[in-house]
């Protein structure tokens, strides 16, 4: 309220503070902002340009759509004023209006066009921003403004070639802000348009070669040029030049430059894949950089660059990155590695090894569906069952804290435990494992405080399966008959019953799993239904086919008794 009063005051100092207060404290959602509309209207027609500018500034900062509609004609009038100070402010105010109320764009089109021919850099800059805004909103306007491309090219040339002008100069570059804005507008105008793109080719080449890249300013202009070249229909020579500039950026000592180089390369990795591949070495090196932002960009780009030919070397790098990367990037790295491994794995054994490696280093950060995916993968590679189960057994012996790994290991030991005992395996050195040790390992998992309930479920089922494969004596199961967790308790009771009442069926129920087909969500249901149909509990008793345990794709048959 005080603001409204101060704004209405005739004294400039009070007005100034009042408008400042309005900009800071009011926003368009508040009702009080409507009250100052009238003041703004009056001030816009004031003779003093500074009072006019206060009003313009406030309107551009917090003008609501309603206020904008009201005052748009005033702004249009001011755009044609003779005072360049007011013109530049009116231009940016018009930008705000167009953003708030799209239809009013039509109103400003003519004025914007004429403003381009001004001498004052501020006005030209405002005009370029306004035109950019109009073109982005409306494709018709875009067509109309394509005719301005030669003018824009002329202005740019003037800036690039012109002599030293102390007013606008920043480290040797003449008005970089204006240059970047013009480049962005050219990008929008040249997109998908051959003629416009041709008109700019020379200019872009000139800017790209002549701009001094030792300071940040020069690099800012070069960056914008590169983005423009890559976005319009430029000729191939120019594109190569642009990618080379990005390559040069990658080798720069300044972290900022490397960061933006990788950001831009990310944008073109889909289209100019080969060009980006050439810089793969540098990008992979950036994975080892200290800075978290640079690491993140390098990771995204590296994952995009993985292909069938470089999968082994890239995976080595990615795995070493995973062991040392910051925690917030772990899950992204893990899922990226899984995707890459799935698409380009050179061999099954390599694939399984990679997944196991990820599980041991970053087991806590992988997604939930990793476990069933891995299990499905293992069942599919029947020739590696022995190798896999040996490896998992050894992993389990060393560390049982990583839940996904423990779950997979339990499942495998349950399925293929007999292979552990035979001890012969071509892929890895033979180790004779006694059956008691196997059961001990599972018991450790069951009793460890680190195991989650679902892991315990896995271990319990595995122990049951081993009862048919290795040994007959499995009395640990009955202990869990009085467990607090309902899931475990139910399992334990059922399994116990399997021993006692339905012993004749135990072998059939706990048979080896068939190979899982990976086609749909409900695939496991289909498989286990087939299995359980061979087991009839009692004639006449309703058979409940495979209940999905825990709702994920885990395959364990539950026979309701």
């Amino acid at each position: 309220m005080e603001c409204v009063r101060m704004i209405a005051s005739p004294r400039y100092s009070e007005k100034r503070v009042g408008y400042l207060g309005a900009m800071m404290l009011l926003d368009e959602k508040q009702d009080a902002s409507l009250l100052i509309t009238n003041s703004i209207k009056n001030d816009l027609s004031n003779s003093n340009q500074y009072i006019q500018s206060l009003a313009l500034c406030t309107l551009a900062c917090m003008g609501s759509a309603e206020m904008c509609r009201d005052l748009a004609p005033e702004i249009d009038r001011l755009l044609r004023a003779s005072n360049s100070y007011i013109k530049k402010k009116a231009a940016l105010c018009a930008v705000h209006i167009v953003r708030k109320v799209h239809d009013l764009g039509e109103l400003f089109t003519k004025a914007a066009r004429s403003l381009l021919t001004e001498k004052n850099h501020g006005v030209v800059h405002g005009a370029v921003v306004l035109i950019t805004e109009l073109c982005e909103r409306n494709s018709e306007t875009l067509e109309r403004f394509r005719k301005t491309v030669p003018d824009l090219v002329q202005i740019m040339k003037g800036l690039v070639i012109s002599g030293y002008s102390p007013d606008h100069d920043v480290a040797g570059i003449s008005d970089p802000f204006l240059q970047v804005r013009i480049l962005r507008l050219l990008r929008i105008l040249g997109r998908n348009n051959e003629a416009a793109s041709d008109a700019m080719n020379d200019l872009l080449a000139q800017v790209a070669t002549n701009t001094d890249s030792t300071k940040t300013v020069g690099n800012a202009v070069l960056y914008e040029t590169v983005l423009t070249v890559l976005d319009i229909k430029s000729e191939s020579g120019l594109r190569v030049l642009a990618v080379n500039i990005l390559g040069r950026f990658l080798l720069n000592n300044d972290r900022n430059i490397r960061y933006i180089a990788m950001t831009s390369l990310q944008k073109i990795v889909g289209t100019d894949h080969n060009a980006v591949q050439r810089h793969r070495g540098t990008i992979v090196d950036c994975l080892k950089d200290q800075d978290a932002s640079v690491k993140r960009r390098a990771l995204e780009l590296s994952l995009a660059l993985v292909s069938a030919s470089n999968i082994r070397s890239m995976m080595k790098e990615l795995l070493s990155f995973l062991s040392s990367c910051p925690p917030e990037l772990r899950s992204q790295t893990a899922s990226g590695i899984f995707n890459a491994a799935e698409r380009y794995a050179p061999s099954q054994r390599w694939h399984i090894d990679t997944i196991l490696h990820v599980l041991t280093t970053a087991g806590g950060d992988v997604r939930d569906e990793t476990v069933p995916n891995l299990i499905q993968l293992i069942t599919n590679t029947s020739e590696l069952h022995c190798y896999t189960v040996h490896k998992l057994y050894r992993a389990l012996l060393s560390d049982i804290s990583q839940q996904p790994l423990v779950q997979v290991a339990c499942w495998c030991i349950g399925e293929y435990g007999d292979l552990l005992l035979t001890g012969e395996c071509q892929e890895t050195e033979p180790v004779q494992v006694h059956r008691d040790y196997v059961l001990d390992v599972l018991e450790t998992v069951l009793q460890s405080h680190m195991s989650s309930p679902s892991t315990r479920g896995f271990a319990l089922t595995a122990t049951m399966k081993l009862s048919t494969r290795i040994t007959e004596n499995v009395d640990i199961v009955s202990i869990y008959g009085s467990c607090i967790d309902v899931e475990l308790q139910q399992r334990a009771v059922e399994y116990n019953a399997l021993f006692k009442k339905y012993d004749h069926m135990r072998a059939a129920v706990l048979e080896r799993m068939p190979v899982i087909e990976k086609n749909s969500q409900g695939h496991t249901n289909g498989e286990t239904i087939k299995e359980s149909q061979t087991v009839k509990v009692k004639p006449g008793e309703p058979q409940q086919p495979a209940n999905q345990v825990q709702g994920d794709g885990k395959n364990s048959v539950r026979v309701t008794l």
């Binding site: 100034r16 800071m24 309603e66 402010k89 501020g122 805004e133 606008h168 900022n256 200290q290 932002s293």
Partner: protein, 194 residues
């Protein structure tokens, strides 16, 4: 993009006649989280000290107080945690954050996805130069005690999230003239009437 389009139409003045609907819109925007207007160069500019004290805040999009506080908290947390010689760019939600430390103050700007980060660094630098020229060897105290001047300078340099004037000289001249105008009026008004 679609999100923003529907929101812009939700801001249609024809609908927002009654405060009731305004409040509902506010509720919806609040529920949908942070709603940013599209296509601005800069969404906000913050200045804060190493100790986490906010010295200047300029918002170029309409946000509720709660949202503003959240942004400020997040920015301080992110930026103050960065080690000394790290990259000046961050990713936060869908925005690029550019920050630079000058003496004891952090200048932090939030940009759109398609903006030029290196140019934003130049913008921050230019603003510091303007402050320096105006105050003469500017330090944090100048900004604390003359914050309104800092805002005025910012308003001469940036408007609506875009650069207004690219010439250092012109900004300096307009500030001088505006100050003269202010003083003249004050002198005139406070002159004792004999």
């Amino acid at each position: 993009m679609n999100n923003v389009a529907t929101l812009e139409s939700a801001h249609d003045p024809a609908v927002s006649e009654s405060t009731g609907i305004l409040r509902l819109q506010g509720l919806i925007t609040g529920l949908q989280g942070f709603i940013w207007a599209a296509y601005k160069m800069m969404r906000f500019l913050l200045l804060f000290s190493r100790q986490g004290k906010l010295r200047l805040q300029k918002w170029f999009t309409p946000l509720t107080d709660r949202e503003k506080k959240k942004v400020i908290r997040d920015m301080m947390m992110l930026v103050l945690a960065r080690p000394p010689r790290s990259c000046n760019f961050l990713q936060w939600r869908d925005l690029k954050i550019v920050y630079k430390r000058y003496a004891s103050l952090y200048f932090c700007a939030g940009l759109e996805d398609k903006d030029n980060e290196l140019l934003a660094l130049e913008v921050l630098h230019r603003y510091v130069e303007l402050l320096d020229k105006y105050f003469g060897n500017v330090c944090e105290l100048d900004i604390i005690f003359n914050f309104e001047k800092a805002y005025f300078i910012l308003d001469e340099f940036l408007m609506g999230g875009e650069i207004l004037e690219t010439s250092k000289l012109a900004v300096g001249v307009s500030m001088e003239e505006a100050d003269t105008l202010q003083e003249t009026m004050e002198e005139y008004m406070s002159k004792p009437a004999y």
